[in-house]
């Protein structure tokens, strides 16, 4: 499946765009994570990396559909 990923902060610098597309051979967040790490190995160096699905933090087992709003959440630093 082909997914559109919103990027923020340092993840956007690493991935080179506000929104990137990635093709994965399955439908779980854990597969999306491993595909992203393979394509953008620098993401591995971050303190944490969460994936938000439809504006909520997801679990590794969360299942995805192509219409989901997916965002990559590098370590937050608000306040």
């Amino acid at each position: 499946m082909k997914l559109k990923i919103k990027t923020f902060g340092i993840a956007r610098d690493i991935m080179g765009g506000k929104e990137v597309e990635i093709e994965i051979g399955g439908n779980t967040v854990s597969l999306l994570r491993s595909s992203l790490l393979k394509k953008y190995p620098e993401l591995e160096n971050l303190r944490s990396l969460f994936i938000a699905v439809n504006q909520n933090y997801s679990e590794d087992t969360t299942q995805l559909v192509e219409s989901d709003e997916i965002a990559l959440i590098p370590p937050v630093s608000g306040g």
């Binding site: 923020f8 902060g9 909520n56 933090y57 965002a71 590098p74 937050v76 630093s77 608000g78 306040g79």
Partner: protein, 136 residues
């Protein structure tokens, strides 16, 4: 009141939004941009935000706080965009019947906000820039 704004935060507006005649206490936290980080001289901070999710995460924090303390009103304003030294980045105000609960709830809210709300800051200092907390 929950607000994410590119304009300077109006402290009074946040405090007034948390006022109620039932309150015997209001605690306000103001987070500001400091001039130094370790030995680096900071020029400005750039904040960005995943706004719809940030609002939802702030609402979740307020829901948890409401379940732990008898909060009367809460108001939160977070600034995004480019901030200069000394400007307010975030203002949180919590009103309760008694002061102890307002201190505790306000600290919980700002601590949680820093952990879960999708807002990021980049420090622009003399000679470079860095996304804060990105690396271990």
């Amino acid at each position: 009141m929950i607000e994410i704004t590119t304009n300077p935060i109006d402290r009074n507006k946040v405090i007034i939004a948390a006022e109620t005649s039932e309150a015997g206490a209001m605690n306000a936290f103001i987070g500001t941009v400091r001039s130094k980080t370790s030995e680096k001289k900071v020029i400005q901070l750039e904040y960005e935000c995943y706004e719809p999710m940030a609002i939802k995460e702030i609402e979740k924090i307020i829901n948890v706080a409401n379940s732990r303390w008898p909060i009367l009103k809460v108001a939160i304003s977070h600034r995004i965009g480019t901030l200069k030294i000394g400007e307010d980045a975030v203002v949180v105000a919590v009103s309760t019947a008694h002061r102890k609960e307002s201190f505790e709830a306000c600290q919980f809210i700002i601590d949680s906000l820093k952990q879960t709300v999708p807002i990021w800051k980049k420090e622009i200092y003399e000679g470079g820039e860095e996304w804060i907390s990105a690396h271990p």
